[in-house]
């Protein structure tokens, strides 16, 4: 990354060094720059330049724990991806939350960290995320990373979305935001399909 900053700087320094070079004809350098064809040219654009040697990509720092003291949530988080239908994968046990591992983590420079858990699943007790809907504004959430780092957030909104209206592009955004998004289900349960009508989404912003 430092290379990227230095290269344009070197370019600028090189150009300023070039400017007073006298014309090859041997005449003395003009005291004011003149657009003669024999003067050394200056680059018209300031283009970023980086090296191309293979470099390891930034390693994610997976969240391992989510705590929401206001509603007594303290649970393990594991990395999850997508299942075959393209929906977010979730740990089968509602007492364990899943972090969307293809997106940012709380220590990424940009983008939302998405953590979700089942509100309930057959043969398990109702999960801790069932309490998310009761969260007041400013409630504090703490995420702990695999290396012990912590990230602190405060609740900004709690929203019910009918499932088909879940704004997935915005919630799973990777630029322009660094929110924490907690997702579970809620609303009415449809016995025939075995699914809840709504998603309950908590959005929290980083707090110092």
């Amino acid at each position: 990354m430092i290379r990227r900053l230095i290269a344009p700087l070197v370019l600028i320094l090189a150009l300023s060094a070039c400017a007073p070079v006298p014309a090859p004809s041997g005449a003395g350098a003009p005291s004011t720059p003149s657009p003669t064809p024999t003067a050394a040219p200056t680059a018209v654009a300031d283009v970023p330049i980086v090296g191309s040697a293979p470099e390891p990509a930034r390693a994610s720092l997976p969240p391992v724990r989510v705590q929401v003291d206001a509603v007594g949530v303290d649970m393990e988080v594991v990395p999850v991806g997508v299942e075959s239908g393209g929906f977010m994968e979730l740990p089968p046990n509602p007492a364990i939350a899943g972090w969307y591992r293809f997106g940012p983590d709380p220590w990424s420079p940009d983008g939302n960290t998405v953590i979700a858990a089942h509100i309930d699943a057959p043969d398990y007790p109702i999960g801790p995320f069932a309490t998310l809907r009761d969260l007041p504004a400013e409630a504090e959430i703490t995420i702990t990373g695999a290396d012990g780092s912590t990230a602190a957030y405060r609740v900004v909104s709690v929203t019910y979305y009918p499932k088909q209206e879940l704004p997935t592009e915005a919630l799973f955004a990777r630029e322009g935001t660094r929110a924490l998004v907690l997702i579970t289900c809620g609303g009415e349960f449809d016995e025939t399909t075995g699914h809840y009508d709504d998603n309950v989404v908590v959005v929290a912003e980083p707090r110092a």
């Binding site: 293809f102 007041p136 900004v156």
Partner: protein, 277 residues
């Protein structure tokens, strides 16, 4: 219809409004152009349409993106002490850029070892959730090669100046380059990350004869696909509990109302009794 239920909460937290095109300048009228210097040992100046654009450009360096209106551009490479592009060491070559596209121009050696300029179009389509894209480009003075991932050929008989693209599950690939039909690496192995929402381009460059074959890597952030949804409740226990709690309150309220009306009746009877006395 969505509803926000937390009391006293600021409505409408500024989530990223819809999908943000990653950091590219591509538009309906412009293209992105990157330039890779893949000729060993020869720093150059790069001129575009007669204007010096890259000064003292070093082998192995990658410049860009340049945001350019769609159209034809004349590209020439000169020695670094040249005053202009009247005596290029390579070119001038006319390249055509179409709007909405991303390109990488490479100054590289052809199979015979002579300097050449190639224009590649970068596949910047959105990746599927859980996948990344890998493009490999042969721009080395070397015969046909196989590209191996973890020792197994995933691209066969790639010749200079061709490319091949694979969409792969997110993860790390141990990539190497071997002469076609062989498995002994002539370049690598090197770890290459396949990332969700990223196009990773690996170039084989340099000269087999000069013994300076190498890998160059370029990454471009492209669109990613978010999961289609978050199905996070499959038993209905919570809804059931809510219904029971609600029923409990209704029953409790009815009892309270009944008790209240008993109290009222008793109070009135007592009052009436008092009045009667």
């Amino acid at each position: 219809m969505r509803k926000t239920i937390a009391a006293g909460v600021v409505a409408g937290f500024a989530l990223a409004a819809g999908f943000v095109v990653p950091a590219q300048a591509i538009s309906a009228t412009s293209a992105d152009l990157y330039v890779l210097h893949a000729i060993p040992d020869t720093p150059v100046d790069v001129y575009v349409n007669g204007a010096l654009t890259l000064d003292d450009f070093q082998p192995g360096d990658l410049a860009g993106p340049l945001d350019l209106p769609a159209g034809d551009y004349e590209v020439a490479l000169t020695a670094t002490d040249a005053a202009d592009d009247s005596a290029p060491v390579l070119g001038p070559v006319t390249i055509t850029l179409e709007a909405g596209k991303s390109y990488t121009a490479t100054a590289n050696l052809d199979e015979a070892g002579a300097p050449a300029l190639n224009l590649f179009t970068n596949d910047i389509a959105t990746t599927n959730a859980g996948e990344g894209r890998l493009t490999v480009r042969h721009v080395a003075a070397a015969p046909a090669v196989d590209i191996l991932a973890g020792g197994t050929a995933v691209v066969s008989s790639l010749v200079n100046p061709d490319q091949a693209t694979l969409n792969l599950p997110v993860g790390t690939v141990s990539a190497s380059v071997a002469l076609a039909g062989t498995t002994d690496p002539v370049i690598g192995p090197a770890d290459v990350a396949v990332q969700d929402g990223v196009l990773t381009i690996v170039y084989a460059w340099g000269s087999a004869e000069a013994g300076n074959l190498d890998l160059a890597v370029q990454t471009i952030t492209v669109g990613h696909t978010a999961p289609g949804g978050v199905p996070s409740g499959t038993a209905g226990y919570a809804a059931e509990r809510d219904a029971m709690t609600q029923a409990f309150w209704i029953v409790g309220f009815a009892f309270a109302m009944a008790a209240a009306s008993v109290v009222v009746v008793v109070a009135r009877r007592t009052q009436a009794a008092k009045i009667d006395r």
